[in-house]
Symmetry: C2
Subunit: 170 residues, 2 copies
DNA sequence: TTGGAAAGTCAACATGACTGACATAATATC
DNA sequence: GATATTATGTCAGTCATGTTGACTTTCCAA
């Protein structure tokens, strides 16, 4: 890597971003940003009979149509009882449909209906708008750094899953 | 904006980080990283009679000793009834103490006791350890980008508050 | 002196997590 | 073919954290 400035001050100066104060600022940044990040879809959902849990389910079904209940369970990191309540209402309301697995008939593969895709679009457009504005304000190299830090923060299993998902850059 | 036909190479290439796919990846990165981010303190707190809400209160009281209930309310973005439940148990258990305001006797200023500071240290050390590892893995310039994007994502009021807090770089 | 702000409290309720127990169907294994 | 395991679904109960609404006390300020 290239040394910014002199070579002498290397150790201490290059590690300044790891002080406790800096780390605490990072923690607060995560907290405040995440709140803003969820605020827009939450606003849309209030009044509807759905909540953040429904949004998350719909998001991942959209991203990976045909995924099984079990996979969704792992990705969301909740119990099947918790997911089931959410999924049941989405199916009853005709936003999600299930198809029995061809190979393994125990599995249910999940798909969004037209209606479900409509809600997904509405929610994700609100969220993407904020993300887009933040990306634009911060610039491409900041975005790369943002993604790198978040990825490094994830639990290894989910990082692996995350890495396999399409990102349009390939 | 620029025409998609004409200056295609330049504009298009520089804006590739704003495609919907890229934005969706950012959304997922936030989701997975935030889960990991809260997992360690949550693990410590389970078993104790406290939860994430207590952690947040303790964090901000530590960061800004003597802040009033009203300020904490704004920072945390919850109702006073919700905060009060949390604060009451922390006071009863001797983790937080309140002092009546000198100037305005209606105000209660919040401070951590020794015991409260102990819990804060324990929780935040777990969280900082993960943050430190992520920062170290991603490097200083990624960290700067990370912080820039998160800051741009916040709601303006909290961004203002966030900016005034000490970060050890000034 | 009166209006409003800061804080605290009670009650009722919603959401989204959790555990534990149990049922059904299909696959996998012995 | 009998048995174990897996994938899914469901019922019941609990907990943490948020909400609204109503009301009180204290105290500052116009």
């Amino acid at each position: 890597m290239s040394e910014p400035g002199a070579g002498a001050k290397q150790g201490g100066e290059n590690l300044l971003f790891l002080t406790d104060e800096q780390l605490r600022k990072g923690i607060e940044a995560m907290f405040f940003a995440y709140r803003a990040f969820t605020a827009d879809p939450d606003r849309i959902l209030e009044g509807m009979a759905y909540g953040r849990a429904h949004h998350r389910a719909v998001h991942f079904i959209n991203r990976q149509p045909g995924l099984t209940v079990n996979t969704l369970l792992t990705v969301l990191g909740v119990t099947k009882q918790s997911l089931n309540r959410v999924l049941r209402t989405l199916i009853e309301d005709g936003l999600v449909e299930t198809r029995v697995g061809r190979k393994d008939k125990r599995e249910r593969h999940l798909y969004l209906t037209e209606k479900g895709a409509g809600l997904e679009r509405e929610l994700s457009e609100a969220q993407r708008a904020r993300m887009r504005a933040a990306y634009r304000a911060a610039g491409p190299s900041a975005v790369a750094g943002f993604r790198d830090v978040l990825e490094a923060m994830m639990d290894p299993d989910l990082r692996r899953y995350y890495s396999t998902m399409k990102d349009g850059s390939a």
